[in-house]
């Protein structure tokens, strides 16, 4: 068997197709050949494979292989002059057949497994594994077929330069010119094309207007109005001593609970620590400070508070804001302070907004005041 293989290596161009047909039938039908295949497999895996890796198995041919009827036929029919450089012969057909059949059986098992799993309502894990097995088997079948049961011929073929021959290009341009010359009043046509393009462009751009509203006054809004009570997300009003120093709560204006833009973080700190600017000294009754909770950098919710350093931290890009110093940015990519909400306590000790945020909350944009 191995001798025949060696024969085939030396004559790769022989009428390969017939041989392989017969061979594969034999390998598939005779169970006794399994043992032989095992031996061959062992030989192939140890000796042959190792030696072949060092010395590529491909036999080199300077000219087309002598027996390549296909090549000769092509040459006769005026095919592109191509050169077969290397022919990789089918050297271990039995092993190839064995492996291909194995791979296909794996695919079959995977496919059947998938179907059973699907119809019995199995888990995603098993579905994925069986589907993967099925496609792995099919893929390996083809790959093995291409490597072990296909006569692989490496060819060299001439390339055409990308440039057209000058005369071809010349005639193309001339034909275009000739055609253009058949059109009269070309100057007028040019103007009309320009006009049509302009009109179409204008219509196209105008249609974008349908997409949405213009940037309206809401983007300039400082959200809070003087006198509004601070309420929690459950709608509960917040009193001056609801928080203990070092804790925080999310608050909203009474009329827009849960709103993205009006979310405000209320922090209570020890009053003696405050370092607010002089004009904001009375914005923090009993050490209650309120800041916009929308990061000035990229608009994430500034949701974390570091108690020891009195810093608000944005989880998205790690900007930090110094709570004691009017939420000035202390590290990270943000460069503008979180807008502060002036607070006062009414006669019942309930916190109310003393006006809008000190600045427009949220990330910046062109022309933001």
């Amino acid at each position: 068997m191995s001798e025949r293989d060696r024969d085939r290596v030396s004559e790769p161009g022989r009428t390969q197709a017939h041989v392989s047909d017969k061979q594969s039938k034999k390998a598939a039908s005779l169970p006794g050949s399994l043992l032989a295949l095992g031996v061959l497999l062992w030989e192939w895996a140890t000796k042959t494979a190792r030696s072949e890796r060092r010395h590529p198995r491909r036999a080199e041919f300077a000219s087309p292989p002598p027996g390549c009827a296909e090549c000769a036929e092509k040459a006769k029919r005026g095919a592109k002059p191509s050169e077969a450089l290397k022919v990789e012969p089918v050297s271990h057909e039995q092993i190839g057949t064995f492996l291909v059949v194995c791979a296909f059986l794996v695919a079959l098992a995977g496919g059947i497994g998938f179907l059973i799993t699907y119809w019995t309502g199995g888990s995603n894990l098993v579905l994925g594994a069986t589907l993967a097995l099925c496609f792995f088997g099919l893929g390996m079948t083809l790959i093995l077929w291409s490597h072990l049961l296909t006569l692989n011929i490496e060819v060299a073929e001439p390339r055409e330069p990308m440039q057209s021959p000058p005369e071809e290009r010349q005639t193309a341009v001339e034909d275009f010119q000739a055609g253009a010359n058949q059109i009269h009043r070309r100057g007028l046509l040019k103007w009309m094309i320009a006009g049509a393009s302009g009109t179409f462009g204008a219509i196209f751009l105008t249609m974008f207007r349908s997409l949405g509203q213009s940037p309206d006054s809401t983007i300039y809004s400082t959200v809070w109005k003087r006198g509004q009570r601070l309420v929690t997300s459950e709608g509960k009003p917040v009193s001056v001593d609801m928080l203990v120093p070092g804790s925080t709560v999310i608050v909203f204006p009474e009329d827009s609970i849960g709103s993205e833009k009006s979310q405000t973080v209320l922090v209570r700190v020890d009053e003696s620590l405050l370092q607010l600017p002089s004009d904001r000294m009375d914005w923090a009754p009993n050490g209650n400070l309120a800041y916009s909770r929308v990061c000035t950098h990229a608009g994430c919710a500034v949701g974390m508070y570091e108690t020891t350093t009195h810093q608000l931290v944005c989880p998205c890009h790690q900007s930090t804001f110094a709570v004691l110093r009017a939420a000035e940015p202390s590290s990270g990519p943000a460069d503008r302070a979180l807008p502060q909400l002036p607070l006062y306590a009414d006669e019942d000790g309930i916190l109310r907004a003393g006006g809008g945020f000190s600045d427009i909350p949220g990330p910046g944009y062109w022309g933001m005041p």
Binding site: R159, E260, G299, P315, P329, G332, W366
Partner: protein, 454 residues
């Protein structure tokens, strides 16, 4: 059978000539030429699984109370979009598998394009006449990343909502037209109900259509120009060496397709990705510490984290906010440079000839060093994009990590550049020193020179 089919078609289309040239088309055998195919086949898988998902996905921001089979979220208010994603994941047979295959295939799609582009870059395959396809390829990379972002942003979960909020802020930061395009494209101030349907329209119609067209253009150009060859015997600007489309290449390529499908099926089944039910519904007030974009946008995220707070303001008004520089200007500049690279290479090497034999990395020290430096930069930025995760994992302070990364982001690319340059020069010297015995690279160099002379 084949004869009958051939006759039937050919009688009507006179297809024999084309068919024969297609069958005999020569494709070089090299594993690195398979990278583009991996991307192509991932796209096929994405379209197939995407159609399946579109049958169930409800791209709406209308609020519903969840009553499905996933217990922990029962009674929670969420977008219909998220409800339908959870429905696909838990109630549609094989739905989770298909959804996870879709997400994994998207990641591999972008990864394959990236590695493919790197291969093109490091072997200078972008030289004339293939600048065209380099430009197409870069555009495909951008479209793939955009569609990835759109895809995970439409799910209506907390992570996608955070990503959408940041995207909104980035769009808003564009000078002059920022507020207008943000309001028009997104439909108002965030969060708006119009956003998810619009992103969905882009995600399943516009961007895939563009990708399809560009893939067709890409393949058309490759067909016309034929592949490059690595340097080696018989390879020159006048010949192409490889195996024919039929049968070798067809079998191998189809096999590759099936193997890729096997990989994404295994990942989709065995490795969880984007578990939206864990994140919960988007709520502008809620936060998700350790939130990351998908890896292919991590470098932009990293740039946003490292870039110092700088903005342009005058006379009491803000003009250009902080995020514009790292999130718009930097990526635009980087992609702009990469788009122009083939033309710059042509300009600086005074070489406008056709090239069909590749330049090995060692033969082009500057390009190789530039590419390595760029990779180093992107790796540092990617790392910075997860600095909070690193800080938690290593029990370090984010501020310290950031300080170190702000230095590394400049130093590491320069060092990488220098090392790569030196190594290339050395490798080049060694090859020429060994003369004819130097083997493949040297032989290739000679071939390449022969080609240039033509």
């Amino acid at each position: 059978m084949i004869g009958l089919l051939a006759r039937t078609v050919d009688n009507r289309l006179r297809a024999s000539k084309f068919l024969r040239s297609a069958i005999n088309h020569v494709f070089p055998d090299h594993w690195s030429f398979m990278l583009g195919e991996i991307a192509l086949y991932c796209f096929v898988i994405l379209v197939a699984t995407g159609v399946f998902l579109a049958m169930f996905f409800d791209g709406s921001s209308a609020k519903v109370i969840y009553h499905g089979s996933y217990g922990p979220l029962r009674g929670v208010e969420m977008d219909k979009a998220l409800e339908s994603v959870i429905h696909i994941s838990f109630d549609v047979p094989a739905g989770l598998l298909i959804r996870q295959i879709h997400h994994w295939a998207a990641n591999i799609f972008i990864g394959a394009i990236l590695v493919h582009q790197a291969r093109i870059f490091f072997t200078a395959a972008f030289r004339k006449p293939r600048e065209l396809n380099w430009v197409v390829g870069m555009t495909l990379l951008i479209l793939a990343m955009v569609n990835g972002y759109l895809g995970y942003s439409i799910c209506g979960d907390l992570l996608s909502g955070a990503g959408m909020r940041i995207g909104y802020s980035i769009l808003l930061s564009v000078p002059v037209i920022g507020p207008w395009i943000t309001f028009l494209l997104m439909g108002g101030t965030v969060p708006v109900d119009a956003t998810i349907p619009r992103m969905l329209a882009l995600h399943i119609f516009l961007v895939p259509a563009l990708i399809t067209v560009l893939i067709a253009v890409h393949l058309g150009i490759i067909w016309r120009q034929m592949h490059t060859n690595y340097p080696g015997p018989h390879r020159s600007h006048k010949t192409i060496v490889g195996s024919r489309l039929w049968p070798s290449y067809t079998l191998k390529s189809l096999g590759l397709f099936l193997l890729i499908f096997a990989v994404v099926a295994a990942l989709g089944g065995l490795v969880q990705i984007d578990p939206v039910w864990v994140y919960g519904p988007y709520n502008p007030v809620a936060i998700l510490p350790g939130a990351q974009p998908d890896w292919y946008l991590g470098w932009v995220e990293g740039a946003m984290r490292l870039f110092p707070g700088v903005h342009i303001a005058s006379s009491g008004k803000l003009w250009v906010p902080e995020v514009f520089f790292p999130a718009v200007l930097f990526p635009a500049g980087l992609f702009g440079l990469l788009y122009l690279y083939p033309f710059l290479d042509e300009l600086f090497t005074f070489d406008a000839r056709e090239h069909h034999v590749l330049r090995l990395p060692s033969e082009q020290p500057f390009n190789t060093a530039f590419g390595c430096g760029l990779i180093a930069l992107l790796v540092v930025l990617e790392f910075a994009g997860g600095d909070d995760v690193v800080a938690v994992a290593g029990d370090l302070s984010v501020v310290e990590i950031r300080a170190v990364l702000r230095v590394l982001v400049f130093v590491l690319p320069v060092i990488t550049w220098a090392v790569a340059y030196a190594l290339c020069r050395r490798a080049r010297g060694r090859h020429s020193g060994l003369g004819a015995g130097a083997g493949f690279a040297e032989g290739g160099g000679a071939q390449g020179d022969g080609m240039n002379a033509g």
